[in-house]
Symmetry: C2
């Protein structure tokens, strides 16, 4: 299966993106990544890796949508790597797209080229987030900053299907992120969404508060896109700051210990690095395979801007599963069948 | 100075609340906490502590607003500890109120009894949050879930004055929490608020994203109350989950080490506890003295529901400083002088 990969998108592009595509081609059966971007640079990266599987191909694109561009600028850059990657999928030359570049551009290119799935009102981005036990999907994190209740209902439905088909959750528990647990909490949008979700036939858990979601009480957490984006980025910023504080505290205690007992400090330093490694592997977005843009008539997996090769490899794997497990067909069926309140 | 303390509010009430009031009376000059709540229970806590400073007094209240009550239920419980505490302040028998109880009830009681400060459209809760360098104030976190641009502008102004007077920040940098750094990002509310803040004369830093705020780029971060509440609680939930993961990773590595070398594991366990303690003291809300409800014609400091004695002591200290440094008078002057865009 051919997966179009935006080779120029992401903080570590093209090096890590190209590496991730090669890893995917080596390790995922029938996976044929199409690297889209500056051919000379991509070829040079491939040459540096060496022994490139035959399935890896390159499609040249002369432009790049960079982080200073506006999302809509993707129209002005028709030969950008993201526009070409989406174009390949639209033309049937790839089953799906993976990009770690400008999120807004990936959303805009997907909307322009793929359009919406039948019955879906607004696409949404569902981002995987870690819990103490596993992960959940937060949807939407910014594809749509003018959400209506029906949009949020459809987000819950689409992310439920994704959780079933990709993560193997039999009956995903759906929560509505709100400022309190009681049914009537929140503004008009949240109250009406609560009613719609209650009557939807989904496995609706009710309102959930932010202090619960990381305990693993839900598999899907529905949120309006603007607030979802603020929550996502704040959580990322906090996690980073906390790990900075953990490291600086460890360093100062280890230095103090080292002055008294260098051998003990050395041993603890090693164990502490193991601990940090364990934390990282349990919270790292790279493990979760990227965030699907749900609701477009095509497949676009948005990877974190800092994606390394492993994150890209996982995103390519998920993109292939998204296609082979017919998630979009399932969404169209489920949206049509969705129970509306009487 | 007399500070009315809701002795029945908070997960650890009344024990830790009473302890915190006694600590405050012992350590803060001229501080006279008035413990409001079930007199028999408070007296019993005081007797258990012993050697209670003369400044500590008790005012009986027969009711409690508990976490299952609605905020507006404070009207139905006129003899609740929070209603009585606010009543004391309203009657001039206390300079300020401190409560770790039901936030909505504290806000509702303050709004009903104190009313708004002259010129202030909507009160907001400004909660202190840690950064890698110190702290910032996030305002609003849920006092007002139907914010207009002028409300957000006033939040920036009020929290700036608070940062100056309480935290000693000379010229507080104010950021607007948004989904991107560019001026025109966000919905209509955010765009208009950006214009108002730009023209306000405040030290406006522009839009800030969630991944920056914990790096200490701003002293005040303005946010609409519903999103602010979701961000606050999600960050609390994430921090808790991360520390759970840190502890579980540490435990499993230390156990593995202990099987090989019990003495080394014991030593490492001790140092690890020191590290965790250091992290906690740098991120603990208890250090920050509670969240002021800004914009009411009175003083109400809302403490975290899990407040221990130290958190309550710090909140009482801040409540006294709020009064003696004439923050409300300053807010009224500044609101009147606020430059409006041409």
């Amino acid at each position: 299966m051919r997966i179009a990969v935006d080779a120029m998108g992401g903080d570590l592009a093209p090096t890590e993106i190209v590496k991730g595509a090669v890893l995917a081609a080596r390790q995922i059966p029938d996976c044929e990544p199409v690297l889209v971007g500056d051919k000379a640079r991509i070829d040079s990266e491939l040459a540096a890796i060496g022994d490139v599987p035959k399935g890896v191909t390159v499609v040249h694109a002369s432009q790049v949508v960079d982080m200073h561009d506006h999302a809509v600028d993707v129209r002005k850059k028709p030969d950008s790597s993201i526009a070409r990657a989406v174009g390949l999928a639209k033309a049937g030359e790839a089953a799906a797209v993976v990009s770690a570049g400008h999120t807004g551009a990936a959303v805009a290119a997907s909307m322009l080229n793929f359009g919406r799935l039948q019955g879906v009102q607004r696409p949404g981005i569902g981002v995987p987030m870690p819990t103490v036990k596993g992960s959940f999907t937060l949807i939407d994190v910014g594809a749509n900053i003018a959400a209506k209740p029906l949009h949020l209902l459809q987000y819950g439905l689409m992310a439920s299907i994704y959780a079933q088909k990709i993560r193997g959750v039999e009956r995903p528990r759906v929560g509505l992120l709100n400022i309190g647990a009681e049914d009537e909490k929140g503004n008009a949008l949240l109250k009406e969404t609560h009613s719609l979700l209650s009557a939807s036939g989904l496995n609706f858990h009710g309102n959930v508060e932010g202090n619960e979601i990381f305990q693993g009480v839900c598999d899907v957490v529905v949120c309006e896109g603007l607030a979802g984006n603020l929550v996502l980025k704040s959580c990322e910023g906090l996690a980073e700051a906390l790990l900075t504080i953990v490291r600086s505290e460890a360093k100062s205690r280890l230095n103090a210990l080292g002055a008294r007992d260098p051998a003990a400090a050395g041993a603890l330093g090693g164990t502490f690095k193991e601990i940090l490694g364990g934390i990282q592997s349990r919270t790292d977005y790279a493990e979760f395979g990227g965030a699907p843009l749900l609701g477009v008539d095509g497949i676009c997996i948005i990877s974190h801007g800092r994606s390394d090769a492993r994150a890209i490899q996982n995103a390519i794997r998920v993109a292939g599963e998204f296609a082979s497990r017919h998630i979009n067909e399932e969404i169209v069926r489920a949206v049509a069948a969705l129970q509306q309140p009487a």
